[in-house]
């Protein structure tokens, strides 16, 4: 299906009270936009709105100042209802220079609020952004509400008393801007002030300057004569179930899920990985948590990382490795070794734009085929995907459970969007999670490395250091009966069948597929997997509000598929599968179930917009007719 977009017709700041708002902060990669966004997120969560965020930063760490390819942005969608995406069109755009304006203006709605640091609109910066004429002067921004402030000048005045000099003083621009936006939405500054004090504990004068800038920005909103129609907006608090909440990114939820998995399995975990964007943050997070039974190993390359993880699993710990697409490709021989030797292994793929280096900081779902099929030999392994930042926690636990219970490598698919996006999370009660303690084999009598559990078909886990269990394993095909090397043709058939049956059998140990929104039968099911959840959910919700017969199904278990999925999908007249690839899951569904499922594909390095999926739903429903 062709990708099209519909305007969602939101409130767009016409009233003093608005149901939801999308704000985007954009500036140079050195302007501190991510820090600004994170602080605004904290304040918004504390205020009581539901929210979702989308950090969007360039691959270059410090691109030349003012360059369009160096623009770093942070988008937040917050509101009174459930928010599951970072939003489509922008209601408020904050730009710190001309490059940020030219790269983001297309997404600002007509009548939207544009906050501009006019001090950065110098001839030099305008040239770098390829503006022939200053857009602040040529009338091209007339359809927006423009708030032009020389933020640089304001900041220098606000921090003058600290004698920091021009260069250091100007660096508080982001905090001044944050102060203004906090005022705009009636948010509290206390959290930001606390975090600045912590962040700059060793440089109190920098902390004080930033706080002064924050307060000055806030005071500017209160006291300056702002253009008509710009005032404090009220966004009603979201109705959420009682409990203790926190914000969490997908990366942190995944890291904590791995720790939780190790606790529930009562097993040591070795996380071995090699730095790669956007997966490295998982290593950065886990290294802080070695007070649990977690150790980390930064290997010399991707292959060493997976091999060290396999070595740890052989020795009785759980080996976990992580990367993005190019690194997972390098690991594939190792993954197959784990499959052949039937050792547990968790492989996390934080997918990014491909092929090759592709778009390292952008999101995509194009590694599904590799996860399902990208290994030599007949090498089946479970593949599961997380659908939201907070879902990463449970999916990581599930990966640990499957790997240790079935003695198999497990592929966990996340992506660049999930990794960096944050959302509020009702903190679960960890005591309510069912433990699944691992049992290493210890009986030396009649021991063979080929002994397996008749129900799960999992091979025994006999770790070095256990008296009487000395044995050899390896990549050469082993005898089903003894575990020794075997080149016997019938045995290879039997072992190949066994490997398939073991993974296929996992379908009996995973939940039945549920419909997450709508009916279990009807005209149209929109079927997604992974991080498309948020956009599909909102689009289906809106379509149902319009009275359309649409349901939303989000699949976590991609291999093996839930055993009721075929029956469920066949109870709908038609199936639409939005994916951030050229149609990898839709082909799986079509080939597995012979269903005429239709694809909706977007491969732009950006998540789906709600309006894009809604447009596809409308188009699809129109072709189905009213009587079908």
């Amino acid at each position: 299906m062709e990708l099209a977009e519909e305007n969602l017709g939101e409130h767009h700041l016409d009233e003093k009270e608005v149901v939801d708002v999308v704000v985007r902060f954009a500036g140079d990669s050195g302007d501190g936009m991510q820090l600004t966004g994170n602080n605004f997120t904290e304040a918004t969560a504390l205020y009581g709105n539901d929210l979702s965020t989308f950090p969007d930063f360039p691959a270059e760490i410090r691109a030349p100042v003012g360059a369009t390819f160096g623009v770093s942005a942070f988008q937040i969608y917050f509101g009174a209802n459930d928010v599951t995406t970072a939003g489509d069109a922008l209601d408020v755009l904050v730009v710190m220079n001309p490059a940020a304006l030219i790269t983001n203006l297309d997404n600002l709605v007509d009548g939207g609020l544009l906050i501009v640091d006019s001090g950065a609109f110098t001839a030099k910066n305008l040239t770098k952004a390829k503006y022939q004429v200053n857009p602040l002067e040529d009338g091209s921004l007339d359809k927006f509400r423009v708030l032009e402030i020389d933020i640089t000048k304001q900041v220098l005045a606000a921090v003058a008393e600290f004698n920091l000099g021009h260069k250091t003083g100007v660096r508080s621009k982001n905090m001044w801007t944050l102060g203004l936006v906090l005022w705009l939405f009636d948010r509290d500054r206390a959290g930001t002030i606390e975090s600045l004090k912590t962040k700059f504990a060793s440089k109190p004068e920098i902390a004080s300057a930033n706080i002064a800038a924050l307060n000055a920005g806030h005071a500017y909103g209160e006291t300056a004569e702002l253009p008509a129609g710009i005032h404090v907006y009220k966004v009603p608090k979201a109705k959420v179930s009682p409990g203790t909440y926190r914000n969490i990114t997908g990366t942190n939820a995944l890291a904590w899920g791995l720790i939780a998995g190790s606790e529930l399995a009562n097993i040591e975990l070795l996380f071995a990985s090699y730095p790669i964007t956007p997966a490295s943050n998982l290593l950065h997070e886990l290294v802080h948590h070695r007070d649990f039974d977690i150790n980390t190993f930064q290997a010399e390359d991707e292959i060493a990382a997976v091999c060290a993880a396999i070595g740890a699993s052989f020795a009785g710990s759980l080996g976990v490795t992580s990367s993005a697409g190019p690194g997972i490709a390098l690991k594939s021989e190792g993954i197959a070794l784990a499959c052949a030797t039937e050792l547990p292994l968790v492989v996390v793929n934080t997918q990014r734009g491909g092929p090759s280096t592709g778009l390292p900081t952008k999101t995509e779902q194009s590694d599904l085929n590799m996860a399902l099929h990208g290994r030599h030999g007949d090498t089946p392994m479970p593949v599961i995907a997380s659908s939201t930042p907070t879902d990463c926690f449970e999916v990581a636990i599930e990966a640990v459970r499957l790997a240790t219970k079935y003695m198999t490598p497990v592929m966990l698919l996340s992506d660049g969007y999930l990794a960096n996006a944050a959302e509020p999370w009702k903190i679960p009660d960890f005591s309510e999670f069912e433990p699944f303690p691992v049992e290493h084999y210890t009986k030396s009598e009649d021991f063979k490395p080929s002994i397996r559990n008749e129900e799960t078909l999992a091979r025994v886990w006999a770790k070095p250091g256990t008296p009487g269990l000395e044995h050899r394993i390896g990549g050469i095909e082993r005898s089903f009966d003894t575990g020794d090397i075997s080149y016997d043709p019938a045995n290879h058939q039997k072992m190949t069948d066994l490997r398939q049956a073991k993974i296929a059998g996992i379908a009996n140990d995973i939940p039945l597929q549920e419909v997450c929104l709508g009916n279990k039968t009807g005209k149209l099911a929109v079927v997604g997997w992974g991080s498309t959840f948020g956009a599909i959910h909102q689009a289906v919700k809106r379509a149902r509000t319009e009275g359309l017969d649409v349901s939303h199904i989000q699949v976590r278990y991609l291999s093996p598929l839930p055993r009721n999925l075929e029956e469920l999908l066949k109870s709908f007249d038609s199936i639409l599968v939005p994916e951030m690839n050229t149609g990898q899951f839709v082909r799986l569904i079509r080939s597995e179930y012979l269903i005429d499922a239709e694809a909706l594909n977007k491969v732009a390095g950006q998540p789906f917009k709600i309006g894009e999926i809604l447009a596809a739903i409308h188009a699809k429903i129109a072709t189905l007719g009213s009587n079908s």
Partner: protein
Amino acid sequence: MNQALPKLTVKDYASDQEVRWCPGCGDYAILKTIQKLMPTFDQPKENQVFISGIGCSSRFPYYMNTFGFHTIHGRAPAVATGVKLANPELDVWVITGDGDGFSIGGNHMLHVLRRNVDLQILLFNNEIYGLTKGQYSPTSPPGTRSPSSPTGSIDFPLAPCVVAIGSGGTFIARTIDTQAKHLGAVVTRGHEHRGTSFIEILQNCPIYNDGIFNQVTDKKIAADFKVELVQGEPIVFGKEREWGIRLNHDSLNLEVVDATSDDVLIHDETNKVLATLLATMKGPDLPVAVGVIYSEEKPSYVDDSQQQLISIRKAKGSMTELLHSGHTWEVE
């Protein structure tokens, strides 16, 4: 561990698998020596682990009745590092060859040496690819005629011990497959060393590279072509021990002199510069050095990792505390 260990013998270390190397392969001699040596370490057998990559040498673990893992080509040092990190109590051995260890697996060899992970690496160097039927390897001399180089190889070879020293290796030794006593003594020293012990074993491939090391193995001539290094002893060789090695102070190269010369070098295995020069020695001008070339005390990666863990885990993590760490808020 105070409990007396059962006395083990060579038989306890032979697995029930039929050994499948070619008749006359140097690997048989190495296997026999290692099987005899293992009981002398007086360790629980279940703590000994042999890990290999791919190639003729890498079948070794199948024939040892210990824990063993025949992994993938070139990656044994990485797997072994994971094993050792997961359980530092294990006595880990890596078995590899010149192709496995220095061609496809060169990167892992470099890094395991640099990190000084506490394990023994036995590199079976036969200067040829055996299992894939005779192609030249990264240690083959230039001009080697093989199925993939019928007109002579044009690669310059590397010297494993020199690369190992350059990678930051802390125990570097060289020995010979059929010289059981020397092999046993060198491996025993390597086993005692805390850190990565790198032991190059010159190993004859009777099928594809027969006699490549004849100069150092043929009893009739070997004394003139190899020098046995002994810590604190003069570096002398020859049938009558009539030759010595000294440093030419002008060229900074080693050279052969009369053994009675007063500037014959004394072997000092802690001297890295000397070790590098000795590891580089080869014919026709210089003898091949065997024995412990270099030894250095240095912290081992796994020891340091354990130290950090012990310090960090003085206060054990709590999942509930982690989940509630940082900013949280209540909704009523």
